[in-house]
């Protein structure tokens, strides 16, 4: 239980965005030995990232809090198996993603939604026209508008977009997690971005119309 963390192996995507945190290694080792204060420290260090990941993947505060709770309970049980082969935050991210995916698969409705976006129906797919140059799209993509648009994506589109574009996972990693091909992951990401483009253009049109009416 007291094995020292070995140097983190380079991992695509996430690791470069998850540098070691001061005091984290000591907290991990102490928590492995059952130190409740050390586990509390790990929670404090990582609760925001875990909760935000759950919230973006699920689009629901209540479910996100439940999954955050589950993620840390499983962390408590699995911490002894952490060998430092990847950054702790990367390892915890993967644990959380796996839990959220399992949670979605257990829920019939979300399972259907997830599969629909892996094999989307024509009605759900984004329009395949190029559209015209929208001079206001770039300026309308503020954080709030994008967060809102991401939250309104179908679950499967949202999953691939959040994992790749926000969290930094590579297509081969996503394909493994979602049990699909890398080509499918690329295709779903592209469709998610196309759908976001539509949503953001609609949002900018509404904003313009409201501005003119005021």
């Amino acid at each position: 239980m007291t094995q020292a963390a070995t140097p983190a192996k380079s991992s695509p995507g996430l690791f470069k965005r998850n540098p070691p945190i001061a005091g984290e290694a000591e907290a991990i080792e102490a928590a492995k030995n059952g130190d409740p204060e050390a586990f509390s420290k790990l929670y404090t260090l990582h609760k925001r990232r875990v909760y935000t990941l759950c919230l973006r993947m699920l689009g629901n505060v209540s479910e996100a809090e439940d999954m955050t709770q589950e993620a840390f309970l499983h962390l408590f049980r699995k911490l002894g198996s952490f060998r430092g082969e990847s950054a702790f935050s990367t390892w915890l991210h993967r644990l959380t993603v796996n839990l959220v995916l399992m949670h979605l698969r257990k829920k019939g409705l979300n399972l259907v939604s997830l599969e629909e976006t892996i094999n989307p129906s024509e009605e759900d797919a984004p329009k395949r026209d190029f559209g015209s140059r929208d001079p206001v799209l770039a300026s309308s993509v503020d954080r709030v508008a994008l967060e809102r648009a991401v939250a309104s994506l179908p679950p499967g589109y949202r999953m691939v977009f959040v994992l790749h574009d926000v969290e930094g996972f590579e297509h081969n990693e996503i394909a493994t997690m979602l049990n699909c091909s890398t080509g499918n992951s690329k295709s779903q990401l592209h469709k998610a971005r196309l759908r976001l483009r539509e949503l953001l253009r609609e949002n900018s049109e509404i904003t313009l119309a409201e501005g003119e009416a005021a």
Binding site: P36, S40, Y43, K47, R48, R49, Y51, T52, L55, R56, A64, E65, T68, Q69, E70, F72, L73, H74, F76, R77, K78, W91, L92, H93, R94, L95, N98, L99, M102, R128, F130, G131, S132, R133, D134, L137, A138, V141, R143, L146, E147, V150, F161, D165, V166, E167, G168, H171, T176, M177, G183, K186, S187, L189, H190, R193, L194, L196, R197, L200
Partner: protein, 97 residues
């Protein structure tokens, strides 16, 4: 559709470009607009160039979302503590890969 190795970018049509776009984004550094092979095509097809610009804008802004995080409510930690004190919860989930 995977990008063919013998693709002729000088004779590329917009429909083909659309089919190849997921791979063009995935295979490069995500900046299709900077791909020299596509400079001529994008210059001749402003709607395709606009699409590329918009999708790149979305991807760039998405990266900034990583820096934005929210806090769970205090009840999450209270529940975790309660569960740990009770000592009984299911253990049927996979470890991270």
């Amino acid at each position: 559709m995977p990008l063919p190795s013998d693709i002729n970018f000088d004779t590329l049509r917009p429909e083909e470009f659309e089919r190849y776009l997921p791979d063009l984004f995935a295979n490069g550094n995500g900046k299709v607009s900077e791909d020299p092979r596509l400079a001529k095509f994008l210059g001749e097809h402003p709607d395709c160039a606009a699409l590329v610009n918009d999708l790149e804008t979305i991807a760039e802004h998405a990266r900034s979302l990583f820096q934005v995080a929210a806090d769970p409510s205090d009840k999450v930690w209270q529940n975790i503590q309660n569960k740990l004190q009770q000592g009984g919860f299911e253990d049927d989930e996979p470890e991270p890969a």
